[in-house]
């Protein structure tokens, strides 16, 4: 009977962070991935936050396939098809090495990360879907069942890094099923353009990059956001909305994306590009309140499978890598102390997370998902109002500026009572502070 110290299910950033850290420390690791190779099932914008990877592979910059380092962030509020109100933040310090944020292409990044995992000594087996967990009489997880013949494999601990759908953990009853209320669906396209064209259209050069986050009525009143990121010789464009909203309306995800691509602010930026892939993926956006139990006898959950996504800042892969690393470090320390992987001992994983930015950030924004679902006008009305106000002020038509301002205020009060406005401001401040 084959037995490992640890089996890691999934070879995304969470599983790779865990498997790499474990193998580096000399534990015997089997990593199972359902894709033909790591990355072939995975979708991201994608922004890579250097810090989380640096803590796992300090010299990653030397070999990691990176697209561009980000020197400018734009935030755009867009309506469905006419206007865009925006701000941008470019900082010369973002151009000083070592760079802090990069755009990446996930299929390439995951393959690279997996190569590092193999070099560290883990056994990585692809084209293998884990179908269920094996438990002993007292319920302890003792291994996994795969769809392969004689596909049962045993380990002292199983790390579930199987991503947003979290099928393995929920089918084993270790965590509740995910629901449409906590999940966003994002669709994305990769659009190819010559590098010089990307440089010229975004006012960048060399490996400099720009990322644009998009909010407002491009989502047609649904809770969601869009994005447009620069890669070396391609652009990534996407839009995502909560499933609970999406199922109540009539626009398909590809119509939403097409609407974004045809918006007069976006269209000239992507003009003439060749679309080479269309993808879709879920994002767990329930935040802190939707987190499941994270460990038990012989098992731990990391990354998207646990719901570690900071939707406000669009961070996920960094939380995935960090939680994977922390799960691994917990096992390494227990093994060194000769202690078993019992629920009581694995609680150290949760304590480490609690003391880290992972839980601190998730807690900080724990009220945001509820705020935005219960107060939908936060998304629809205010962005539209900003656009209207800008148009009013910028249209030179012989009406005095004071009269224009009075009209803007009257419009706003017409949309919402003064008390409502104050309440919104307070709730907004509470949720994001």
């Amino acid at each position: 009977m084959e037995k490992f110290d640890v089996i890691v299910v999934g070879a995304g950033p969470a599983g790779n962070g865990a498997a790499y850290t474990l193998a580096k420390a000399g534990l015997s690791v089997l990593q199972l991935e359902r894709g033909e190779s790591p990355g072939t099932k995975n979708v991201q914008g994608a922004i890579l936050y250097a810090d989380a990877l640096e803590k796992i592979i300090p010299d990653f910059r030397e070999t990691c396939p990176l697209e561009r380092h980000i020197i400018e962030q734009r935030m755009w509020l867009m309506d469905e098809d006419q206007t865009c109100t925006g701000m941008s933040y470019r900082d010369a310090r973002f151009s000083q090495e070592p760079y802090n944020r990069y755009t990446i292409i996930r299929a390439r990044f995951d393959r690279w990360f997996s190569d590092q995992v193999k070099k560290a000594g883990a056994l990585v087996v692809c084209e293998t879907t884990v179908t269920e967990l094996l438990r002993n009489g007292s319920g302890k997880v003792i291994g996994v069942r795969t769809e392969r013949e004689k596909g049962d494999i045993y380990a002292d601990c199983v790390i579930l890094a199987d991503g947003a759908n979290a099928l393995v953990g929920s089918r084993a009853g270790l965590r509740p099923e995910i629901t449409a209320d906590d999940m966003a669906l994002a669709v994305k396209e990769v659009l190819f353009l010559p590098k010089e064209t990307v440089d010229a259209r975004f006012n960048i050069s060399g490996t400099q990059g720009v990322v644009i986050e998009i909010a407002g009525n491009v989502t047609h009143g649904m809770l969601g956001t869009g994005f447009l990121y620069t890669n070396k010789d391609s652009l990534a464009i996407g839009i995502g909305c909560m499933l609970s909203d999406m199922k109540k309306q009539s626009l398909t995800p590809y119509q939403l994306l097409e609407g974004l691509k045809r918006h007069p602010t976006i269209k000239p930026l992507i003009e003439g590009a060749e679309m080479k892939e269309y993808s879709a993926h879920l994002i767990p956006e329930g935040g802190y309140k939707a987190l499941p139990q994270l460990y038990g006898d012989g098992w731990m959950i990391v990354g998207d499978a646990a719901g570690f996504v900071n939707a406000v800042h669009r961070e996920g892969s960094n939380l995935a890598m960090t939680s994977g690393r922390m799960a691994a470090e917990t096992l390494i320390a227990l093994k060194a102390a000769g202690k078993p992987y019992s629920a009581a001992n694995l609680a150290a994983y949760k304590r480490t997370l609690d003391d880290s930015f992972v839980m601190a950030d998730l807690k900080k924004y724990q009220d945001v998902p509820t705020l935005l679902t219960e107060q939908p006008h936060m998304l629809g009305m205010y962005p539209r109002f900003l656009g209207d106000a800008a148009r009013e002020l910028l249209t030179v038509d012989g009406v005095s500026k004071r009269a224009k301002q009075q009209k803007i205020m009257a419009d706003l009060k017409g949309k919402r009572s003064l008390l409502g406005l104050l309440g919104d401001a307070y709730r907004f401040w509470r949720a994001f502070r």
């Binding site: 359902r34 894709g35 033909e36 990355g39 072939t40 099932k41 995975n42 979708v43 991201q44 994608a46 309506d79 469905e80 098809d81 006419q82 292409i105 996930r106 299929a107 390439r108 995951d110 692809c126 084209e127 293998t128 879907t129 795969t146 769809e147 392969r148 947003a164 759908n165 099928l167 995910i178 449409a180 999940m183 669906l185 669709v187 396209e189 990769v190 009525n217 047609h220 391609s234 499933l243 999406m246 199922k247 309306q249 009539s250 626009l251 398909t252 995800p253 590809y254 119509q255 097409e258 609407g259 045809r262 679309m275 080479k276 892939e277 269309y278 993808s279 879709a280 993926h281 879920l282």
Partner: protein, 101 residues
Amino acid sequence: MSATFVPPTLNVEEKLFQNRYRVDTGRPHIRVRNESTCVSCDAKACTVCCPAGCWRADPAGGIELVVDGCLECGTCRLICDQNNVDWNYPRGGFGILFKFG
């Protein structure tokens, strides 16, 4: 919706055409549990929400499901209020093969 917004008419197949797949012929990984449940389902949210257009209302009032273009997102499983979707991943190595992701 704004007064001017015209929902784009487009063929999702044209988008899917750019993707790489290894189709597990004859072994669909997603199935409808009970066809008559779909017939009596008014919302048919699957036909709107599926990003690959795999779910189509058929003229008889039911649902036609073709999973060849599936992006394996999991949406249809979550948006069906009747819990009528029997959802699994394709066998290892089959299904969508993202080139970029």
